[in-house]
Amino acid sequence: MASGIKDKVAILGMGCSKFGERWNDNAEDLMVEAYAEALEDSGIETNQIEAAWLGTAIEEQHVGKSGIPLAMALRLPYIPVTRVENFCASGTEAFRGAVYAVASGACDIALAVGVEKLKDTGYGGLPQRGRGSVNDLFWANASAPGSFAQLATAYSAKHNIPAGDLKRAMAHVSVKSHDNGSRNPKAHLRNKIDEDRVMNAPMIAEPLGLFDCCGVSDGAACAIVTLPDIARGLGKKDLVTVKALQLAVSNGTESQHNSWDGSYFATTRKAAERSYQEADITKPRDQISMCEVHDCFSITEVITMEDLYISPEGGAVKDIMDGFYDADGKVPCQIDGGLKCFGHPIGASGLRMIYEMYLQMNGRAGERQREQDPVLGMTHNLGGYPHQNVSSVTIVGREGA
């Protein structure tokens, strides 16, 4: 395997808009809101940025195609700007583009912006659109919750975990995220909930009820990245560097070959394995300080904790109920409130997750700041369906860790 990008690139500045139903803002306004914060944090000027990536997934709903919307909104100085899309990993893809550009030596300072303006459809939930002219001929009439709901039955069957126990652990996942989100001024949902309320909520796609599903919102997040030496030259101390960036994409094995049992994410396992190798991590359960995983649905979070090799296979329910992933647990998960409380403006989510890791490592997470000094933070995105998806794993941490 290649030597990877560990510690080759540092985060110079980050920003994140308030997430929510931003009825009075265009996607461009959200990008500027996140960018202004990042620019101030970085201490540089716009004309120092040499290349930019824009991550957005349902661009027909807001900015349209190409990198032009980002270049125009930020008035970027005729630099290369590329729009990337890879389902829910779109924000992380923008980050990957910028980080790889710097790591390759192609440029010194690069920008990644993710944005999504979803609350212009006239209805709740993700926009319902065509899935491609051939796919529409044969794909099931599936929504996201319906697809992810099927994980629950397969997981219960495989690990012999009663559906009620699993549903209770799923409820704990959402309760924990709302507790965390209540302490985050940028979160969309800031109310606390309890397990009974989750368990008794209206059903969306059995067994996923209303509170098992993340919200839909508008938002943007961004990162400015550079070489560690340049960051130090700009006066930055205690650098947060990129340790690993990995992506795995389904090739049809899960959806077309009978070898996959439907109870786990084959992609996440591969992306995690490669990430740990790239970051020199051998015992993730002991070494990862905190994580933000793609909790589009509570069941996704439950299963992802195993696919990231933090919980043993079949052991996530116990860890969750033991409080292992709570804000004061061993490895806090969604300490910012997660997709559950931020909602999921698709292109923004990956960068929003990295933003929280960055804040925590800089001691700037306000009332939700972790007491123990975080060393390594991991983020994860999962786009598509359990049987056919894109999974990304990002690890950032203190330089040299």
């Binding site: 996201a144 099927q150 439907g262 049987h387």
Partner: protein, 486 residues
Amino acid sequence: MALGILAIGGYLPKARLQRIDIANANAWFNPALKGLANGERTMANWDEDSVTMAVEAGRDCLTGIDRNTVAGIYMASTSFPFQDRQNAGIVADALNLSTRIQTLDISSSQRAGSSALLTALQSVRSAEGPILVSASEKRRARAASPLELTTGDGAAAVLVGEGEPIAHYIGGHTEAVDFVDHYRGEGEAFDYNWEERWVRDEGYMKIAPNAINNLLDKVGVSAQDIDTFCFPVAMRRVASGLAHKIGIAEESVADNLQSSCGETGSAHALVLLVHALEQAKPGEKILVAGFGQGCDVLLFEATDAIKAVGNRLAISGHLANGRPENRYTRYLSFNNLLTMERGIRAEVDKQTGLSTLYRNKGMSQKLLGGQCSDCGTCQFPKSKICVNPGCGAIGSQADEPFADKAAKLNSYTADRLTYSPDPPTYFGMVQFEGGGRLMSDLTDIDPDVELEVGISMRMVFRVKDYDVLRGFRRYFWKATPQYDTH
């Protein structure tokens, strides 16, 4: 070689709308409907039309028969989904028949089914093999009309040809009379009907006896020798009145299935014929008529081969496979008789690229997947590179039909978010015996019976999406729990 019926099949939709619920809902408007409120009528699901029902009847009919031998398919209906696109051709594709066949739509009269059968019997001697005749009807009726109560949705299919028929064809006859008891004009969704008493006295009771007597004279069979008389009309006492007039024994009059099914329009002659053949004994003579602007009559005699007719659902199996439906508004909605608030999600454009469809119709209409000639792995859909992670051969796949493979349900859900004309949307991973799987729409799910992982599933050809902007509908296959076969 003997000419006759080689095989039979049938299909009735699972839901059986209780007539009392129709009558009760409309009693404020027309209390007389209570007189028709006994029993139940078959009710097509939202994703069924005359093409999908013809496909199911055709599959049932072709059980155990090499489909490559079929030389033609005649489809009869007055409710074709397409005015100009051969509907029989869609059925032929779904049945994965060869392209070297004759396809023909026969329509414009309630006797389209019997005329299709008669035409097939007349032409099959010069064909290269047997002809499948599939008659199917999903007839629309206005809310609170008598027709809404007396009609039903359904299909029947017979394979005719030379060989060892289960019923020998003795002869047929047609009287063509432009007697307009009802009509459906160009662009009209519904029938316009004239007074029933006139239809009975001047139509059924005068035109049909003439046709039947002419046939009996022609073939030299006496009316007393008819063992089963199928007259596919809903109106009470018409068939028995005709039998009396002609001299057919009263006990020979076949049940018109009014109490359990309803009159399935132009399909009903074949529905009654198939139902009669299911119960026929060798040597018995069956007379079947079709009425509409004249009258067709056909006479058959069951042979010894009739004893081996089992192993299919036909009409009796489907009659036994019903589920009572009490929700009249569901029927109204499925038949576009009620303007429902479908929500913005329903507005997604369902355009089908015709070139896209043609290029992929093996997959979408025939449910053809692939089998790798290198490693033997079966997969759906077929692809240029084998899905088996241990193989990866390029260009190794041969067409592999999946429609009739045994399958099991791996996982499923009931989705209340995505738009469906019949929420919740059920879908799940269906795994085929011998390899291959599909995240598939599920249909005909009984909300009162819990689905279970591992149950046996069967693929059925259904409407996938209606493109209301362009008057198109695309078809694909869905999974449904396996019927109990008798």
